[in-house]
């Protein structure tokens, strides 16, 4: 599957982790359409940014949970990949059938998770 030019929306509250994720996505040929580090900003961008192919969401944003953002994206039909240090157990029942990558993650893990997610959503 080619990811060239496809648009990803990233929410991650740790600057260093975000920098790393940006680099990983760039290496994989993705275009980071928008990124947010705080909940309010993420909610606003989740509503306004157009043509998002996939979203990668950090679950814990400085104590707040990312689920209001996930809700907006789900309503828009955007496939979601959660990234969390808690693993799948950190997801409430409503979301635990969604794709998850556990921090720290490698470039290969991100690539495979996105492939699975987008392969499955077609």
């Amino acid at each position: 599957m080619t990811s060239a030019g496809r648009r990803v929306f990233v929410v991650e509250d740790e600057a260093l982790v975000l920098i790393n994720l940006e680099d990983i996505l760039e290496q994989l040929g993705w275009n980071v359409a928008a990124q947010a580090m705080r909940l309010s900003e993420a909610e606003q961008l989740a509503t306004s940014v157009e043509a998002i192919d996939v979203a990668i969401l950090d679950v814990n944003l400085g104590g707040a949970r990312v689920f209001p953002v996930a809700q907006i994206l789900r309503e828009r039909g955007v496939p979601i990949l959660f990234a969390t240090g808690y693993g799948r157990d950190g997801l409430p029942p409503e979301w635990d059938d969604h794709a998850v990558i556990v921090k720290p993650y490698s470039q290969t893990e991100v690539e495979q998770a996105l492939d699975r997610l987008l392969g499955a959503s077609v």
Binding site: A15, L16, I19, G85, P104
Partner: protein
């Protein structure tokens, strides 16, 4: 039909019987009774029982109370076990044990006029109990029955006391509407000290109506099965006048049956598990939080490593840079750890990065200002990148260069850090585009939602970092 002579039957009964009037004076006694007390009826007649056989001890008091109960209530009364010494005809006193049944005899107007007493001598039983070598089976069935009654009565008061003070909670509900007839101290405490005796569960504990417990009680009462629950969540008003609080209970509802097997009530027992459920939850949260922090820290270190090693050709330099970055992160963690991961002082963070340089080159200062954990880590990384950059490419890379770092809180409560490099080499393109600059922008404007003003002047970097109060002063939601 032959008419029965009740007086003759009374005389013939093998068990001791006697009848007292309302003043507790003898009006009748059968030969079996005469034999037991060793006194012919002629000497008993008209005499007060307690004048004839004085007993100021506990047994005398119990006996008198029992007679008084019968006279007052018109209900029979049983003393399952009473110690009452008897003076024999030869003058010797023997300590004997009795079971006494007191039955009211009513007159034509329906009031109690006499009390009839039937006693069974259970001294044999007591002696046999003392002779522990004797097998229990040698005691007659009748004696065994009495023994059981005796134990029931003696233990009933004891049991009540035990239930009353039991650490587990106990309540007895009576009838189809579940009327409280008994609550232990711990049960009373559980429901906020409310006096509920005589009230239905619905009246006494209105907050449980919508929680389905009355339906469960109805079912237990109707169908006779036992309902048991572990760690059940119940909202209970466990402090007077306060809103209902989340309580976790292990409990069971057991049907109470009468002798005929009919259900007459529900026995409620259980343990308040709230504290242990909370402790387990807290522990779970702490482990999750620790795991989350470790994973995030590893992700941070992973990012530092990959950024440092990216596009590098000088591995010795990359290794030093990597070590220094990880040390900066580690120092920030140490500072936070010293203060229970709550906050750290800006001055300490600055000192950490700049103390290695001489006073003639570096000048820094500002008020005592605390920043939260997130800002501490972010600021430590930012200050490290700026200091490392100054040392490698900026004002601190040449002997004549110098650096001034001043921080303050402005009128809006923002933390302002002014970083001014002078007399250094002119900044080059990689410095503007490198990891340090990228991290700085990402941390300050992204992570902390603050402002960043970077000016690459002729003689060095001039930067102003603004961090809003909301970002550095607020404590993150903690477990507990």
């Amino acid at each position: 039909m032959t008419e029965l002579d009740f007086a003759r039957i009374f005389q013939a009964l093998p068990s001791p019987f006697m009848i007292l009037d309302r003043e507790l004076c003898y009006v009748a006694a059968n030969p079996a009774y005469e034999a037991v007390v060793g006194t012919p009826f002629a000497q008993l007649q008209g005499q007060n029982l307690f004048s004839l056989f004085p007993n100021e001890g506990e047994a005398g008091v119990r006996l008198r109370q029992s007679f008084e109960r019968v006279l007052a209530t018109g209900e029979p009364d049983t003393l399952a076990y009473i110690n009452y010494p008897i003076t024999e005809a030869d003058g010797t006193v023997t300590n004997r044990y009795w079971t006494a049944v007191h039955v009211p005899l009513t007159g034509p107007d329906g009031t109690v006029q006499h009390v009839m007493q039937n006693t069974v001598d259970v001294t044999e039983l007591v002696r046999m109990r003392e002779a522990t070598t004797l097998p229990y089976g040698s005691i007659s069935a009748a004696t065994r029955l009495i023994e059981r009654t005796r134990e029931t009565e003696a233990s009933s008061a004891e049991f009540r006391r035990l239930f009353q003070q039991a650490p587990a909670f106990v309540a007895v509900l009576s009838g189809p509407n579940h009327v409280f007839t008994f609550t232990s101290d711990s049960y009373t405490k559980l429901i906020g000290g409310r006096d509920v005796i005589g009230q239905t569960v619905a009246q006494a504990l209105p907050e449980v109506i919508d929680q389905g417990f009355i339906e469960v009680l109805d079912k237990v009462y109707r169908e006779g099965h036992v309902h048991a629950a572990e760690g059940a969540r119940v909202m209970l008003e466990n402090e007077p006048g306060r809103p209902a609080e989340e309580t976790f209970l292990d409990f069971s509802y057991n049907p109470i049956r009468d002798g005929a097997g009919n259900i007459t009530g529900v026995f409620v027992q259980g343990m308040d598990r709230t504290e242990s459920v909370r402790a387990v939850r807290r522990q779970r949260l702490m482990i999750d939080e620790l795991n989350h922090r470790v994973k995030n820290t590893l992700a941070t270190v992973q990012s530092i490593a990959s950024q440092t090693l990216r596009n590098t050709s000088d591995f010795a330099q990359a290794r030093r840079a990597l070590e220094a970055r990880i040390m900066a992160l580690s120092n920030a963690h140490t500072m936070l750890s010293d203060r229970h991961w709550r906050d750290a002082e800006v001055g300490n963070l600055v000192h950490q990065e700049l103390s290695a340089f001489g006073d003639e080159q570096v000048d820094y200062g500002g008020p005592t200002l605390m920043v939260n954990a997130k800002t501490t880590v972010a600021l430590a990384l930012v200050l490290h990148e700026m200091a490392a950059n100054a040392a490698r490419h900026g004002a601190l890379s040449v002997p004549e260069g110098n650096l001034s770092v001043k921080w303050r809180r402005d009128g809006e409560g923002q933390l302002v850090v002014d970083w001014v490099e002078r007399n250094g080499p002119t900044p080059t393109e990689p410095v503007r585009q490198g990891f340090g600059a990228r991290l700085l922008r990402m941390v300050v404007t992204g992570e902390l939602g603050g402002g960043l003003d970077l000016n690459y002047d002729q003689d060095g970097l001039r930067a102003q970092v603004l961090i809003p109060a909301a970002a550095y002063a607020e404590q993150e939601a903690r477990f507990d």
